[in-house]
């Protein structure tokens, strides 16, 4: 941490729709690059289950669209690469960091490890034995507990991560197109071997986890609680309508 900045603005708004979350990622990254917003840590709270999937993935390969539609699960293409996830409100911990490139290692692989480190230390502090697994996974001995993804836009770096506090593996297999066997017991057992959830290993509440993660990044970068500006909110709401809730974006590949 250098001494010539005010640290992170930590924002933790009320539950927002999945498209608005992704719009905020784009708006805050672009505005940081333009010098219009401070470096920020944003906590995500969702109002529906969702499938955030990677920028370069095929919608049809990843999402059981009909099942998602019938069950109110909202698929949104991220601005970042990486894979697809099933996320339910209250089950995951998701946050975005918007940082100047000067705060982040130039080497991309090193920067994933470096920026995941604070969250991993926070989880370890709660008694959860996790480690960074290159390129972008957060691993427990029982399986993958989370993952991160980055986008570099000029002098701004977006680094966001999602970790499973809990997970309905059956529902995940129904809405993600992971394989032909779908919801067979064998597929469920196989998926349960690959993924780990905090509730199996941790007594802390999800709010405790969020607090610990936020505290770890504030301890590292400095800063404190702030708010999204009205202007940032309005820009994100507009962009959610114009882009992140449209088939032109979500189903473009």
């Amino acid at each position: 941490m250098s001494d010539d900045h005010d640290g992170l603005r930590v924002v933790d708004p009320e539950a927002l729709s999945e498209p608005v979350h992704h719009a905020l990622d784009e708006v805050l990254t672009n505005r940081l690059q333009a010098g219009e917003t401070p470096p920020t840590l944003r906590v995500w709270r969702r109002d529906t289950p969702a499938v955030p999937f990677g920028r370069f993935q095929s919608f049809d390969d990843e999402v059981e669209a009909e099942y998602a539609r019938e069950h109110g699960i909202v698929p949104v293409r991220r601005v970042t690469g990486g894979g697809s996830m099933y996320v339910a409100p209250g089950d995951v911990v998701t946050y975005s960091l918007y940082l100047p490139a000067s705060w982040v290692p130039d080497d991309v692989e090193a920067s994933y490890a470096d920026l995941d480190r604070s969250a991993i230390e926070a989880l370890r502090g709660l008694g959860l034995d996790v480690r960074h697994e290159p390129l972008n996974d957060i691993e427990h001995a029982d399986g993958k507990i989370g993952g991160s993804a980055q986008l570099r836009s000029g002098d701004a770096v977006l680094h966001h991560a999602t970790m499973s506090y809990d997970l309905d593996t059956r529902e995940m297999l129904r809405v993600l197109r992971i394989g032909a066997e779908k919801v067979s017991d064998k597929a469920v057992r196989s998926a349960e071997k690959r993924v780990a959830v905090m509730t199996d290993h941790l007594d802390a509440s999800r709010e405790d986890v969020i607090d610990a993660v936020v505290d770890a990044y504030v301890a590292r970068f400095g800063g404190g609680r702030g708010e999204l500006s009205e202007d940032e909110r309005e820009a994100a709401l507009e962009l959610a309508d114009a882009k992140f809730s449209t088939p032109e974006w979500n189903e473009r590949l």
């Binding site: 993935q57 690469g81 990486g82 390129l135």
Partner: protein, 89 residues
């Protein structure tokens, strides 16, 4: 003709290629859970291999992909070349 293939990259990323071709590659779609900067370079990667003879070597495909001005993260030009050539087998 049309073919598809998936290549699992060491480290876990998946690169999928869908290729339409006759004697030459006509169109290519590259998809997967990789990272690419800038993101808009995906189209350039796809265009880079279009027009190559279907029996061009791995090195020719990899060189064409490697010539694109982009940073590939979690996969590389060799993986794209492998996926595209396997899609035409």
């Amino acid at each position: 003709m049309h073919g598809e293939s998936s290549v699992k990259v060491p480290g876990g990323k998946l690169v999928r290629a869908a290729v339409t071709y006759e004697a030459h590659v006509q169109s290519v779609e590259i998809r997967g859970d990789f990272f690419l900067e800038p993101p808009e370079a995906l189209t350039a990667l796809e265009r880079a291999v279009e027009g190559l003879p279907r029996d061009a070597s791995h090195e020719e495909f990899a060189t064409a992909v490697g010539a694109v001005d982009a940073t590939l993260v979690g996969f590389d030009a060799d993986d794209v070349a492998t996926a595209v050539r396997e899609a035409m087998e």
